[in-house]
């Protein structure tokens, strides 16, 4: 298995326990050495194991970008959609077949820039989706351009003299929009991340987990932040666990503290529950429940 996956694989197992969750016939993967995406996949696979969820019921939807490629590597029903549109695709999948556990796995640019409108509206509707947003603070697949998440005055290929746009604080954004579960971890926190994903599977509604992840090839290198290992040291040193922290206070900077933890865990009726209740009260006996599969 790849170098970055080994970061969080414990020694207690013989062989790699997450291997059955991967399409081994698609290895090696495309991610760079030191990239954090593989680590997140490892945590995701472990969460699936620990949650004992029926893997047949899990569908994974990705957008475009480095993280978008996750869909291609997991041994699940998986959909690699168009740029920014993983969430609306996943919305249709979930609404047509409510028995599925639908995971959206994509990057910060995909979910919060081109897909930003869908992100807030899915959170507002409280569609029952588990969204894992790997935030490497940059557009990586296309070569290191500014993302809505790029912090401070970081240098990117499209802001060669430093960015000056303020960045999105994603936990704050999705909380305001209505998410029922919001957490942030870094790729250093493989176990905590795994636990958070497991918790999201227990929630009904729009869950959002942000994973701060290095892009040594573009973000770290261009900003002289060292390699993958040095980034792990930074994550370790500067991360502060603050469960229940007000999301307005968890914005990111280039070198500063990274507030991690579970920020939001609340209950609110999800879209389909609200829809059925509304139809039932308005239509009474005329309301016919959805049949999951039409033909």
């Amino acid at each position: 298995m790849s170098a970055e996956l080994s970061v969080s694989v414990s020694n207690e197992d013989l062989g790699n326990p997450v291997e059955p969750f991967l399409r081994s016939d698609r290895m090696p993967h495309i991610w760079c050495p030191g990239c954090g995406i593989g680590t997140t996949v490892n945590s995701f696979a472990r969460a699936l194991i620990e949650s004992k969820i029926d893997l047949k019921s899990v569908a994974l939807v990705s957008g475009i970008g480095c993280t978008g490629r996750v869909a291609g590597y997991v041994a699940l029903d998986s959909f690699h959609t168009t740029h920014g549109r993983a969430i609306p695709f996943a919305t249709g999948l979930k609404l047509a077949n409510p028995k599925l556990n639908v995971v959206v796995y994509s990057g910060d640019g995909d979910l919060s820039a081109i897909g930003g409108n869908h992100l807030i509206h899915a959170a507002r509707r409280n569609i029952d989706l588990k969204v894992i947003c790997v935030n490497n603070l940059i557009y990586a697949m296309t070569g290191g351009q500014t993302a809505p998440t790029t912090p401070d005055h970081a240098t990117t290929s499209t802001n060669p003299y430093g960015t000056f746009e303020p960045a999105f604080n994603l936990p704050h954004l999705v909380e305001a929009a209505g998410a029922v579960y919001v957490a942030r971890w870094t790729t250093f926190h493989a176990r905590q991340l795994s636990r958070a994903i497991g918790e999201a599977f227990q929630k009904k509604g729009f869950s959002f987990i942000e994973v701060i992840s290095p892009c040594p090839t573009l973000y770290q290198r261009r900003n002289r932040l060292g390699d993958g290992l040095e980034t792990m040291k930074y994550y370790k040193a500067m991360s502060k666990v603050r469960t229940g922290a007000p999301t307005s206070e968890v914005g990111l900077t280039m070198n500063g503290e990274i507030i991690v933890g579970k920020f939001v865990d609340r209950n609110r009726a999800d879209y389909q529950t609200m829809m059925r209740a509304q139809y039932a009260s308005s239509l009474g006996e005329k309301f016919v429940e959805l049949e999951a599969v039409c033909s």
Partner: protein, 385 residues
């Protein structure tokens, strides 16, 4: 298989084309629509939103057409027959997802109630200027199927056909209405469910180990697997091999894109529908579609009353284009007249197919109304000279 009676509003109705399209979709088994309001198409989803909770299904109004056009595809993979409905500006926004549906072979229907353009254009007035966009609107090579109803009855009948073709060929089907047909009210006869033929989705019977999600069968159309049944299949808009895995080599690209094109082009004879009249003795043929075909009919009738040998060819399917039929006619007629509510779109196809053996006269109209039948009559008279 026969239609599910729960979705079929059997009887005689006096409804407009938009409502008839909705009833066609329900009769065809559509139980999911995602939409975004846009004139003059909105009545279709308004009716669907009112009807579908009484037959077991979902309508969701999305935040924009980009979302609507991909949400419906998620629903298809979730097991539903699904569609979206839009007009000009929304159709433009949906184009990337027409390509995604073509590439991932997601059976679905896009309804475009055409209005005047470009841009915001004429929101409440007719045009037929999206015909080339329907064919070529998304980037890359693919083939498409597009149908053109000319009455509320056909909005019902052909919507069912659109869903059936989508399933048979695993392709997005463009349903090209226009504002006049959409807002025109006429009698629509909805037959009993057992007289409506529905093509169900072809799900594979193979076990997961043997199943190749993108291996075409004899007709080049792969079978689908149901999400959630352990097939662990992968769907991607990237160029992919028969396993569905990304493979970006020229060889795989060639094989895939040609299959996407050929599965429809090779079946063009079977898909293509034309309505023909008086072609045997014609020396001029009026080629038209949608609302313009009804305007043209008046001119054709007047011309024949005057003893002019004019024939009619109405395109019920615009795509695939009936090029063989036009080619054959070009060998024995003098001219084609092509009235359409655009500055010459399908006329280009007629001209291409005619190979210079007969003249093609586009009769253009920028939209906002329909042709004056007198203008078509005059063109018929002039073309015979």
């Amino acid at each position: 298989m026969k239609a599910d009676p729960r979705g079929v509003l059997t009887g005689e109705h006096f409804i407009d084309g938009d409502h008839a399209c909705c009833e066609g979709a329900l009769a065809a088994g559509a139980r999911f629509a995602a939409g975004y309001p846009i004139t003059p198409s909105t009545e279709i989803v308004e009716r669907f939103a009112a009807r579908v909770p009484t037959v077991g299904g979902t309508f969701i109004q999305m935040e924009d057409e980009l979302a609507a056009s991909i949400t419906l595809q998620g629903a298809v993979w979730g097991g539903a027959k699904a569609f979206t409905v839009t007009s000009g500006p929304g159709f433009s926004l949906m184009m990337e997802h027409v390509g995604y549906a073509a590439m991932t072979e997601t059976p679905c229907v896009f309804v475009d109630v055409q209005r005047g353009g470009p841009s915001t254009g004429l929101p409440t007035l007719p045009a037929q200027a999206d015909m080339m966009q329907a064919r070529w609107g998304s980037h890359g090579d693919y083939a498409i199927i597009a149908l053109c109803p000319n009455s509320p009855q056909e909005c019902f009948d052909l919507t069912i056909k659109a869903f059936n073709l989508a399933e048979e060929f695993r392709t997005p089907v463009m349903f090209m209405m226009d504002e006049v047909v959409g807002h025109m009210t006429e009698k629509v006869v909805i037959p009993p469910a057992d007289r409506i033929e529905i093509i169900p989705r072809k799900y594979t019977q193979k076990p997961a180990e043997e199943f190749l999600p993108y291996k075409g069968n004899g007709a080049m159309v792969p079978e689908m697997a149901r999400t959630g049944e352990g097939y662990k299949f992968h769907v991607t808009g990237l160029t992919h091999d028969e396993r569905g895995y990304p493979n970006m080599t020229p060889q795989i690209q060639d094989k895939l894109v040609r299959r996407l094109q050929n599965k429809i082009q090779f079946a063009a004879d079977r898909i293509t529908l034309c309505e023909e009249e008086n072609l045997s003795d014609a020396d001029v043929v009026v080629v038209s579609y949608g609302i313009t075909s009804r305007v043209a009919q008046r001119a054709i009738d007047q011309a024949r009353e005057r003893g002019l040998r004019v024939g009619k060819l109405r395109l019920i399917t615009a795509w695939p284009f009936p090029q063989e039929r036009i080619r054959e006619l070009a060998g024995r007629v003098k001219a084609f007249i092509v009235p359409e509510l655009n500055l010459g779109q399908m006329a280009l196809e007629v001209e291409r197919a005619a190979l210079g053996k007969a003249e093609t006269y586009p009769l253009t109209h920028a939209g906002g109304g329909v042709h004056n039948p007198e203008d078509i009559l005059r063109a018929i008279v002039e073309a015979r000279r």
